[in-house]
């Protein structure tokens, strides 16, 4: 009798686990949870966990619960592949990652190879923030889907705005030294050159990715160049510390950024005292004016204690659900097919589409500036009392760019 009880005690939990594994959809979240990218990586993890909870409360996807598995890749492509393999071995069939296009390229390649070698055990890769254009052009993959606008799309919108700002005379480019940073600088040079040939590019800097702890030497150089505007694609601690050093040195320029809204950015901008002189380009922001997005933001902030940096994560998860329901299956192959050309009403309003040709999601894009809030703008950032204010909106149709992707379909 005793032996039997013991056996039951040992086996019963195993059965329970096996049953629950059948009923959950595991999403492997592979992003930095340590080092220089950790501040944004942890924010992303909390965002996805919140979204999973929210969905589970409403019955999950096709009756199955969603579980986010956080895996630390230290912003390192090699480490990411180890983590991805670990995730796949533990039954993960959907991977999401965002920080670092170098990581994204490695993961996309890895997932593609994995799917060729293991038919019937395909894995999908949902990219929520790695914006190197090559991921949806020459390096495109059928198994990779991107919800963030590519760097070329963002730069197109940013330079369109800069074109109509005559006060810009001297521009300084500072970016991280890897594929994404390099694509920002080349796009900026090319597009500014075409749209505003009179603008002088007085500096073009590449610095090591997430390694610099004190940007004052760089700020001194920007200052000496006489620039009136800085364009940067920096993210994570690289944007927060850059702005912090600018605040310390009292650098007064306009900042055109991709990610000034990330962890530490708003605090540093407030410290610079640059009221509505720091711009960022996103697919949505807290004060966008869309009622349902603002309601979501309010609940999100109360529950998670963070601003919603990634409206695209919301779009990603909700579209995943929509695609799974459309295919009536959570088989990655069927979900992938259902995602193609799927139209979707995005969080901040307006329709987006996951283009079949390159698996890039096209959506409305917003340029916003950071500063004192107007009466109808309820959300500030990091308790600074300042928040994001709408400057310009680009509709989906205008945000479309062409692709060179020749997709290899299974």
């Amino acid at each position: 009798m005793r032996k039997l009880t013991l056996a039951i005690a040992v086996i019963a939990p195993m059965l329970g686990q096996a049953a629950s594994a059948e009923d959950t959809i595991k999403i492997g979240y592979i992003d930095p949870l340590s080092g220089g990218g950790a501040s944004v990586g942890e924010g992303g993890l909390k965002t996805f966990q919140y979204l999973a909870e929210e969905m589970n409360a409403k019955g999950g996807i096709l009756g199955k619960k969603i579980e986010i598995v956080g895996l630390d890749n230290k912003t390192n492509p090699q480490e990411s592949l180890v983590q991805a393999q670990k995730a796949i071995d533990s039954g993960v069939r959907f991977i999401t990652q965002g920080n670092g296009s170098s990581v994204a390229a490695a993961l996309s390649d890895f997932v593609t190879k994995n799917n060729t070698r293991n038919p019937g055990k395909e894995v999908l890769y949902f990219n929520y923030a790695a914006v190197d254009p090559s991921l949806t052009n020459d390096k495109c993959s059928y198994w990779h889907f991107r919800w963030d606008a590519g760097s070329d799309i963002k730069m197109e919108a940013l330079t369109n705005y800069m074109k109509d700002t005559p006060s810009i005379k001297k521009v300084y480019l500072i970016n991280q030294d890897y594929s994404f940073g390099q694509s920002v600088r080349t796009d900026a040079r090319k597009m500014l050159g075409a749209k505003r040939p009179d603008v002088q590019i007085v500096g073009d800097e590449l610095h090591p990715l997430l390694k610099v702890t004190d940007f004052s030497p760089y700020i001194a150089k920007i200052k000496a160049s006489g620039a009136d505007s800085v364009v940067t694609g920096n993210w994570g601690q690289d944007i927060a510390l850059l702005l912090k050093a600018a605040a310390d040195a009292g650098l007064k320029v306009n900042w055109y950024t991709y990610y000034a809204g990330g962890a530490g950015g708003p605090t540093a901008i407030k410290q610079t005292g640059l009221d509505h002189q720091v711009f960022q380009i996103t697919e949505g922001f807290a004060n966008s004016g869309n009622q349902s997005a603002m309601d979501f933001e309010k609940v999100f902030r109360a529950k998670v204690g963070l601003s919603l940096w990634y409206p695209r994560a919301v779009n990603e998860m909700r579209m995943f659900k929509a695609a799974a329901e459309k295919a009536n299956s959570i088989d990655p192959v069927k979900v992938a097919a259902a995602l193609e050309d799927l139209k979707f009403e995005v969080l901040d309003g307006g329709q987006g589409v996951m283009r079949k040709d390159d698996h890039q999601f096209f959506q409305p894009i917003y340029i916003s500036s950071f500063g004192k809030l107007a009466a109808n703008e309820p959300f500030d950032e990091e308790n600074t009392g300042w928040g994001w204010h709408l400057v310009s909106k680009v509709d989906t149709a205008q945000a479309m760019v062409s692709t060179t992707c020749k997709m290899a379909r299974p």
Partner: protein, 315 residues
């Protein structure tokens, strides 16, 4: 241009002095005990995290005094109960001990404070621009860091050159056995030196924490540079470490400040204008090379002058 030079010099000297706070302890420990302390940068990190925690509890100024003392005490304990016991098994065992310690400290720190950066702020008393030079503000806190480093440097110099304690330490640097035979407790001297060296690293951590980033990989990021400094300056030489720290601080800062690439050195004959697989190499700027410059210096000095800048012996 002048503005850039002045600001870069200030920044370079500041970074150099910070390196000196760290390398002074490391180099003295090395020449006395023959142990290259791999955990030295970890003491720097401990200093920063203790500083952060104590600042939260009792404020920055008490933390500035207490945190280094705490780190010094840990350093002494490591020497007394760790290194002294492994000493009889030779240098390799000691080296491995400090190597393991570095990993252990990093893990413990990330277990307690997490892996992402902690919010360690500059004290409000020093959070203002000290002066404005060519319309660029220089933060008061950086000036404070510079002042602390210089005071420590002078104090260290006086203790080592002008006091009896310094006499014994200096003697133990070159002739530890002789000092022992003369009746001094060399073990206690070792322990004290190890403690002071660790405390200095801790102090560097406390003051650098708010200006740089306080996170669990800060030791790993700074460690290699420290070895460059002490090898470059000459193992065991304090003046050497001082000069090397300043040189590396300035070189790194100016490398960032300078534009120009191999290609631009040729002026109108720019070789990158022609199509070539080497175009990328021609166009790499000095700023992009900045992070590897110290290691390049290390290699060159080892080839040209293996004992280092001011070193007197080869090992």
């Amino acid at each position: 241009m002048l503005e850039l030079i002045v600001i870069s010099t200030l920044n370079g000297v500041l970074f150099g002095m910070l390196l000196f706070l760290l390398s002074s302890g490391l180099t003295v420990i090395f020449s006395m005990m023959g142990v290259l302390n791999f955990a030295h940068a970890s003491f720097y990190m401990l200093g920063a995290f203790f500083g952060f925690q104590l600042t939260k509890w009792i404020g920055f100024w008490p933390a500035l005094v207490l945190a280094p003392l705490l780190v010094g005490a840990i350093g002494m304990a490591v020497e007394r109960y760790g290194l002294r016991n492994t000493h009889k098994h030779g240098h390799v065992a000691e080296l491995l001990l400090t190597f393991g310690l570095a990993f252990a400290i990093e893990e413990i720190v990330s277990m307690i404070w997490g892996k992402s950066p902690v919010d360690y702020r500059v004290p409000t008393l020093l959070d203002f621009p000290a002066f404005t030079i060519f319309s660029t503000n220089y933060p008061a806190y950086k000036l404070f860091m510079l002042a602390v480093s210089i005071v420590i440097f002078i104090a260290l110099l006086i203790v080592l050159k002008r006091t009896r304690v310094g006499l014994i330490v200096q003697a133990a640097l070159t002739h530890p056995h002789m000092v022992g035979h003369l009746g001094h407790n060399v073990g206690r001297v070792f322990m004290a030196v190890f403690g002071v060296g660790s405390a200095l690293a801790g102090l560097a951590g406390v003051i650098a924490g708010p200006a740089l980033v306080t996170q669990s990989d800060m030791a790993a990021a700074l460690g290699p540079i420290l070895f460059v400094v002490i090898v470059f300056g000459g193992l065991g030489s304090l003046p050497g470490a001082f000069i090397a720290s300043l040189v590396i601080g300035l070189v790194q800062t100016f490398a960032v400040a300078l534009d120009g690439s191999l290609a631009s050195a040729f002026g109108p004959l720019d070789p990158s204008a022609g199509p070539s697989v080497l175009t990328d190499i021609w166009n790499v700027t000095i700023a992009q090379v900045a992070p590897i410059v110290p290691y390049l210096l290390l290699v060159i000095i080892l080839i040209v002058r293996p004992m280092g800048l001011m070193g007197t012996r080869e090992s």
